[in-house]
Subunit: 258 residues, 2 copies
DNA sequence: GGTTGACCCTGCCCCTGGGGCAGGGTTCTA
DNA sequence: TAGAACCCTGCCCCAGGGGCAGGGTCAACC
């Protein structure tokens, strides 16, 4: 030991790691001390004082980049910077609190992905005993609808609520889901398509489209929502959909084409 | 527009940046969609759904690395992970709160660097009208002492408090600070050294050293604290210090040599 | 049919605050 | 005199993207 502390001692006394001390040197926050004959850094009191000050500021949440400014600043400028850092810390805390809130919604199913109204509809769907595939498809459709037509999402939910409040239509929807397992040329397909289309034509509110559907890419977005399930892999399902759409168009309903 | 959304549209609908979407692809969080003829990514509903889910988790503070696990996990594992993330968030919040506390201490002078007892002594020094250089030197000495002899710091403060409670000794200290401006061979130097040494020998508690001074590098640390000011640049000051130490050693006080 | 502006592509470096490791030299202790 | 414990520089790494370069594509307008 010649004169002064080695980097390890200085770091230990200041309560930081050796790596951090070297980092502070690189950032110009603490002066490089003189080296001894073998090239080791030897810390004297000036560097130790700088180190303690820098560590204190850094631990208080001051970004390293702003520490030189703060050390040089007069009391008023110093106080102003402290205020600003404090505000940033408060913001960060608020954001973390918000994350915790989101996280707690996440803990209970879909409440982070969908608003309460949508979750209520999903609960009702579960009560109505739709099968898991149908349920998932509806749920995903909601998530997509919320992302793709945010401004029309309330109207979408309203239509959805109306549809599941109509027992006759609920039966028809269950029939549609059951149809996935039929043969494509099953005679029941045409009958079901006719029944669904007639019901929709008699209840026009169920087929009203969101207001922003007139946007140029609306058809693409509509297609994404309506044909997103795994069900349309079934040719029967495809045929059923095509038949229903054909009848609806014949009945004057304007359905976007993919 | 052929089929599906471009990356910009998908990002906008999911409420993230294009860059983030590509980042998620790279991390394997969202499947790469098919490309169109010109190599553009075309997003369909499966990728959009993944994107919305990933965004929701990421915004809730789930680290990207854990998102695949969470998406695959069953409800109980999912809930466990949520709990753990929540705990981490709570810890982060607590740490930020601690930073704010430190920051507020920073706002009022040295209260972040020194405990209240030390600040009280510094306030008293100010009242006793020590000049700015002396004051800064004492303050820096305290900071160094706290870092270098943490376990002996309370005793150090007690000695300090006793010293400044002794009006005779305070006068002598002021004389020492004034001596920096004298000529080195000023006859007052010897007289002052004698007075200081006599006073210290008559009040042995003022020269008691910290308990851990017997550590191997204690002399180095002691030297750092005692000779850290700008004052020892003055040859008069050096001579005064040497004279005092010589008299003290002669009086039986054990002073480490640098 | 040419231009313009808005998109898209890949790939690279940048930010914070250091952590970790490689490969080599030095000092202290047993 | 050996080994442990330091020290040195230099490089790559972490999260969550941001920014830019350099080049291709698409749609609309004149």
């Amino acid at each position: 030991m010649r004169i002064g502390l080695t980097i390890g001692q200085a770091a230990a006394f200041a309560g930081v790691t050796v790596k951090a001390v070297r980092h502070y040197h690189q950032r110009g926050l603490v002066d490089e001390p003189d080296r001894d004959a073998s090239g080791y850094r030897r810390y004297g009191s000036p560097q130790l004082l700088q180190l303690v000050r820098v560590r204190t500021l850094a631990r208080a949440g001051v970004p390293l980049a702003e520490i030189p400014t703060m050390l040089d600043a007069g009391p008023s400028r110093f106080a102003a910077t402290v205020d600003e850092i404090d505000r940033r810390l408060a913001d960060d805390i608020a954001e973390l609190e918000a994350r915790r809130t989101t996280l707690r919604r996440l803990g209970s199913g879909d409440r982070a992905l969908l608003p309460d109204r949508a979750c209520a509809i999903l609960d009702r769907l579960r009560e109505l005993d739709f099968d898991a595939v149908a349920f998932d498809t509806y749920r995903e459709g909601m998530i997509l609808a919320k992302a793709l037509f945010p401004s029309g999402f309330d109207a979408y939910l309203a239509r959805f609520a109306e549809a599941i409040g109509d027992p006759e239509y609920v039966d028809l929807m269950k029939g549609v889901w059951a149809a996935g397992a039929w043969e494509p040329d099953d005679p029941r397909v045409e009958a079901l398509a006719a029944a669904v289309a007639d019901h929709l034509l008699n209840h026009p509110r169920l087929t009203r489209f969101p207001d922003d559907l007139n946007a140029s890419d609306a058809a693409t977005r509509y297609g994404l929502i309506n044909h997103h399930g795994g069900q349309e892999q079934s040719p029967t399902f495809d045929r059923l959909t095509a038949l229903i759409e054909k009848r609806l168009r014949a009945g004057g309903v304007d359905i976007p084409r993919d």
